[in-house]
């Protein structure tokens, strides 16, 4: 080991008496580190203040005001929050978003996990399969795919044509029928299972083969091995995916916006929370109300993430 790493070990807890020269050298170096670090972090700090924390506090303030960009903000106390309590459209948008999150996220993760497990290591064609499954998640966020979805699930769209091919005559306009429109967007979300799948694949590679071999020798079936070995060892990664996907899903916007042509329709069935927020803030310029809505979103996402972390104690297994 080099001198500096020994010095650092010493610094962290060593009780050896230091000579004044050593102390001075240490202080000098610490000082240099400190200065350099804050220089390196300068852009990040600036961003943190100007782009993140400043706006965060400003939006908290704005959420207690009425503000249309034209006149200065007018303090109205908790009125926005009270209005939100009585805003049935907002409640509906929450319901839509929750359905999307509660159905879409687990479904996508389950699919990702299932495919990742089937894609054994070293199997023939693995890179090709991985690319094919991964590609949609790289394209799925784009407007082009959302437009494609709008066509596919339209009255004369691809889906109905294919159904007609196999002898099912369907004239349902999936995106124009309030009972199906949301499900087409959930399907789009599941279609992009590739990126969690890639994370699962990497996690599966870290599980030692011998665990499975030993279990197999003892007569464990594939299903048992999956439940008793794969799942527990993969649980930290499942957890990671769950937390991130949950946070992202709450904010999804583009697909619903494009599929519904910006309206959240039909009959508000694809009125995602962020879409409603956008309409309030940038359609009707009720900036105060939009800020209050944003803070409710932070609260919901924060609480859910915290619950997620608390629950993780019961099912996430750390093999350290």
């Amino acid at each position: 080991m080099s001198a500096i790493s020994e010095l650092s070990a010493l610094r962290s807890g060593g009780g050896r008496p230091r000579t004044p020269e050593e102390k001075a050298a240490l202080r000098r170096e610490n000082n240099r580190d400190n200065k350099a670090a804050y220089l390196f972090l300068a852009p990040w700090f600036l961003g943190l203040i100007v782009i993140t924390i400043g706006p965060l506090l400003a939006s908290l303030y704005l959420s207690f005001t009425r503000y249309s960009l034209l006149q200065p903000p007018e303090w109205i106390g908790v009125q926005n929050y009270l209005d939100m309590l009585g805003d049935s459209r907002l409640h509906h948008s929450l319901q839509v978003t929750l359905t999307y999150v509660v159905v879409g996220v687990p479904l996508q993760l389950a699919f990702a996990l299932a495919v990742a497990v089937v894609l054994d290591r070293g199997m023939r064609g693995l890179p090709l399969y991985r690319s094919v499954f991964y590609l949609p998640s790289m394209l799925g966020g784009s407007v082009a795919i959302a437009l494609l979805w709008r066509q596919m699930f339209g009255t004369d769209g691809l889906v109905n044509q294919v159904l007609g091919w196999v002898g099912i005559q369907s004239t349902t306009g999936w995106v124009s029928d309030p009972s199906y429109a949301l499900w087409t967007i959930i399907l789009l979300h599941v279609w992009t299972f590739g990126s969690p799948m890639v994370i699962f694949l990497a996690g599966l590679r870290q599980i030692p083969v011998m665990y499975h071999e030993a279990a197999a020798v003892d007569g464990a079936t594939r299903w048992t091995r999956f439940r008793r070995i794969t799942l527990p060892l993969l649980s930290p990664i499942i957890f990671f995916n769950l937390v991130l996907q949950l946070i992202n899903a709450f904010q999804s916007f583009t697909q619903a916006f494009v599929v519904s042509g910006g309206t959240g329709g039909p009959a508000d069935s694809t009125m995602f929370y962020s879409l409603y927020l956008y309409q309030k803030g940038f359609g009707q310029f009720q900036m105060g109300y939009a800020a209050a809505m944003a803070w409710l979103l932070v609260l919901i996402v924060g609480v859910l993430t915290a619950v997620n972390f608390l629950l993780s104690r019961f099912w996430v297994f750390y093999d350290d």
Binding site: S2, D33, V132, R150, V162, E213, V298
Partner: protein, 300 residues
């Protein structure tokens, strides 16, 4: 670093009598069934994309009658017509998008690598606190900073310029990439920077001469992800770019819905393909880095 390679099997060469021998027949059947299922799923996954590509060469009325992938009469009018269907030729929006993407990539590479180096290699006051804050900002929904940010950029007169889309990247607001690079730098042996330090290098020189050359894969991953996300980003341009001349590709593409009330699907499909091609190429050539990068941040 997460090891993506197959873990070496030290016993592979040695015969293993203890291992239960599967009957080859069952194994073959199982493997065939597995491949058949995988191929079926792949086809379902990829079919819409292939169909989109093929349909972009069909007249609009044929698009709505033909679920198959064969082409009887190939037309390129969708492309020529679609290119000029909007207020500006489509190339104009591609240039706009390219400017934003290049700016965003440069910003993320610059600011995130600097911040990551500090977090991974420097000792400084409140480091743990700042690091925690950095991780938390990954999870803050953009909506909560959106309104004040808009007001700020609006007051500075930057609405309808690309500044609001690029500047935040130079301020390392995509903390996800900081985290990715921190993870990567932690995997680089400390002996390398210590050697440089003994030779008299300060942090600046160590960063430029030692770290940056070694960080290739992490920088590539960052560049590729930034490219894909910025190129597809719809929300930010929708808010900041209201002048059609400033539209980036996704906002321009969405205009096909408004302008033609959804009737000119051929042109819309053709331009959709145009916007997907760069994504596809980046995916094709950068996949290695994407897989590696995503695995690095996703691992334990």
């Amino acid at each position: 670093m997460t090891d993506l390679q197959e873990s070496p099997a030290p016993l592979a060469a040695v015969p293993q009598p203890a291992r239960p021998r599967r009957r080859p027949g069952t194994s073959l059947t199982r493997s065939t069934v597995k491949h058949l299922i995988l191929i079926a799923v792949s086809l379902v996954m990829i079919y819409p994309l292939l169909w989109l590509l093929v349909s972009s060469f069909r007249p609009t009325d044929v698009i709505f009658r033909t679920p198959g992938l064969w082409i009887n009469d190939l037309v390129i009018q969708n492309y020529t017509g679609g290119w000029t269907a909007l207020a500006q030729p489509f190339g104009h929006y591609i240039v706009n998008s390219a400017i934003v993407v290049v700016g965003a990539v440069a910003g993320n590479l610059f600011a995130c690598s600097l911040a990551a180096y500090a977090f991974a290699r420097c000792r400084f006051r409140f480091k743990t606190l700042w690091f925690a804050i950095m991780l938390i900002t990954v999870m803050v929904p953009i909506h909560v900073v959106l309104v004040p940010q808009y007001i700020l950029f609006n007051n500075l007169g930057w609405v309808n310029t690309f500044v609001p889309l690029i500047l935040p990247k130079f301020l390392a607001t995509d903390s996800f990439f900081i985290f990715l690079m921190v993870q990567f730098i932690r995997g680089i042996p400390r002996e390398l920077d210590e050697a440089a330090r003994i030779d008299g290098c300060g942090h600046g020189r160590i960063f430029l001469r030692v770290m940056i050359p070694l960080m290739g894969p992490a920088l590539a991953t960052t560049a590729i992800f930034t490219f894909i996300w910025t190129w597809s980003d719809f929300f930010t341009p929708l808010i900041y770019l209201t002048d059609p001349n400033a539209y980036t590709v996704p906002v321009a593409l969405k205009q096909f819905l408004d302008a033609t009330s959804g009737s000119n699907w051929g042109a819309m499909f053709a331009m959709s393909i145009v916007t997907l091609v760069p994504l596809f190429l980046v995916f094709l050539f950068g996949q290695r880095f994407l897989v590696k990068g995503i695995a690095t941040t996703g691992g334990k």
